[in-house]
Assembly symmetry: C2
DNA sequence: TTGAAAGCGGTACCAC
DNA sequence: GTGGTACCGCTTTCAA
């Protein structure tokens, strides 16, 4: 920039003004532009944000469970689009549910002075979220609630979604309904299980502890658990899976045993191609894009000075009937 | 930092040393650490990289087609893991195949002084890639070649993959094989089509122009195109789809017409759940993780001073036989 | 409107 | 080993 100023025969401040589009005599602006081009000048945003009065870096930190999974990817994209509208960019990282990694990401994001954070919290690190917020970086939690105070959250109504699924299965005659749940440390896994329990209570159905398998992580774990369940003397006639990969694992086992048309299955969260299976997999779907958009908008409000108490947005889920959740209980036949 | 120095009663330089883990008398280090904690001091990496001799920001820029699609997501994660090993973070953005957005991302990434760029190029902006490289930011292109000189690339052997698929179909008796291709501007779409043409030539089969549908983007376009193809007087007995979403669209139409067991289908790039469909979708799979890892490693070599000519890594594809590609041509029955 | 100079939060060099 | 100081590239007073 100094070189550009010298070459254009103007002060360094004038170059800054031109670069930032502030009013400058056209003649000077022209000279600056030309000199900049000739010298191959490239603005340094890191230096500029350092000196700028608002200290904004126009960067958001995004802490995901795993950038590779469809939920995270959709969230990433939704947040990215919202961010782009505000001229902001995304710094993203994956925790793999590891609180140590989460802490590391939070630390380096704040050290890089991101303007705000959107986090899918592992749930084992809430003090760090609070620390970030108190250090002046607004935080919005997504997909899961947090115990950190004054942190906005965007979640879906997990309980209601699962409750409704239980009711549907019950109406179709199912009495032995099994539940597959993710790691207990994950907030949504707890909520969905609670929804399952509530649903059974609502329809007046007993909860068979042997039909509940929690703490499963990944498709293989669900596949094995489903095998176990179906080998029981009183095997379930319907399955509710509390997460994406678990649904895949469950369905895989059903197909191995040729039971996909006999044992009902409802999964939480939609799956690509689920509608092309036979029967299609019925799911409790969440609107990923809406979640991301809402999170971003809460964050931007904070950045614009909104100082009120924590806000908690709860979005609805939507049941997509595709066949696997509509299979009648065998007794009905 | 100045406050910490004052509080600890040491020079500002000493604080810097402590923060950076450089040798300092334990007593002083202790005092600094305590003061830092008490004042809630948080290191500012943006300021530090500004003054640091190497000017490194420990940030990589990742330009994707669409952060939400599985290919991009897998790539993102693979690069993230490699970056993390080097203490680096990722700044990511989506182009949606729009060269204007690509240019914007390239510009703001370099303005933020990323240490390197990993780009899935739209193919309509190669001068910007070159500009970035000449400005001192190493660039690695991924998934697609580029005409920009001195830019390393990582791609898969698209032609060989499609060629082999054509041969398989031919061996199964298919003579009327259709091709569904993505936007012509996309390098891989060109390559895969070339592989199709080469494959037909190899087996001595004629290329029916009416069976080629290129310039399709997204599942719906493929769905419609497949409808058209199957309505032809001499309809194809097999389909090769040149991209993920196109495969989904094609399969959807096949199932609508109940033809998924009569018309063969081979897709490029794997799909989650493809193995659970009946019949399963056979695909020409690429190893996303390996692609991302290789790209990252090429980039890190550049960052460590590797100055040779552009290197082009070509990874193999793998055919996954699942049924849809193994259906015999009707004449055989 | 424009330019000189101070300073954002650090690091690197230098003399002690 | 430690502290003082110049300075990274830029924005922001402030005086001209």
């Amino acid at each position: 920039m100094r070189d550009v100023a010298t070459m254009a025969g103007v002060g360094i401040a004038t170059v800054s003004r031109v670069v930032n589009g502030k009013p400058v005599t056209p003649d000077l602006a022209e000279r600056v532009t030309r000199a900049a081009e000739q010298l191959g000048y490239r603005q340094d945003l890191t230096a500029s944000s350092l000196r700028r009065a608002d200290r904004r870096t126009h960067t958001l930190g995004l802490v995901l469970e795993d950038a590779a999974n469809p939920f995270s990817a959709a969230l990433h994209r939704a947040v990215e689009d919202a961010a782009a509208e505000h001229g902001m960019l995304l710094l993203a990282g994956s925790t793999d549910e590891d609180p140590v990694r989460e802490r590391g990401l939070l630390k380096t994001f704040t050290a890089r002075r991101v303007d705000g954070l959107i986090v899918v919290p592992t749930g084992q690190n809430d003090t760090d979220l609070d620390a970030a917020r108190r250090a002046g970086t607004p935080v919005v939690c997504v997909d899961r609630r947090t115990t950190a105070p004054q942190v906005d959250t965007v979640t879906v109504d997990n309980r209601a979604g699962v409750r409704a699924a239980v009711q549907r299965l019950h109406e179709a005659g199912h009495r032995r309904i099994a539940f597959l749940g993710d790691l207990r440390s994950i907030w949504t896994a707890q909520e969905r299980y609670t929804g399952f329990v509530e649903g059974l209570a609502t329809v007046g159905c007993v909860l068979h502890p042997s039909l509940v398998r929690r703490g499963l992580h990944g498709a293989e774990a669900a596949q094995a658990a489903t095998h176990d369940l179906l080998a029981l003397a009183h095997a379930p006639t319907a399955l509710i899976s509390g997460q994406n990969l678990l649904t895949i694992g469950a369905r895989r086992t059903l197909q191995e045993l040729q039971l996909q048309r006999r044992v009902a299955l409802i999964g939480f969260d939609d799956l690509s191609l689920a509608d092309l299976l036979e029967p299609g997999i019925s799911v409790i779907a969440q609107d990923h894009a809406a979640i991301g958009k809402e999170a971003a908008s809460l964050l931007f409000e904070r950045l614009e000075g909104e100082g009120g108490p924590a806000r908690h947005r709860v979005l609805p889920t939507r049941y997509l009937a595709r066949g696997s959740g509509e299979l009648p209980a065998p007794e009905d036949r």
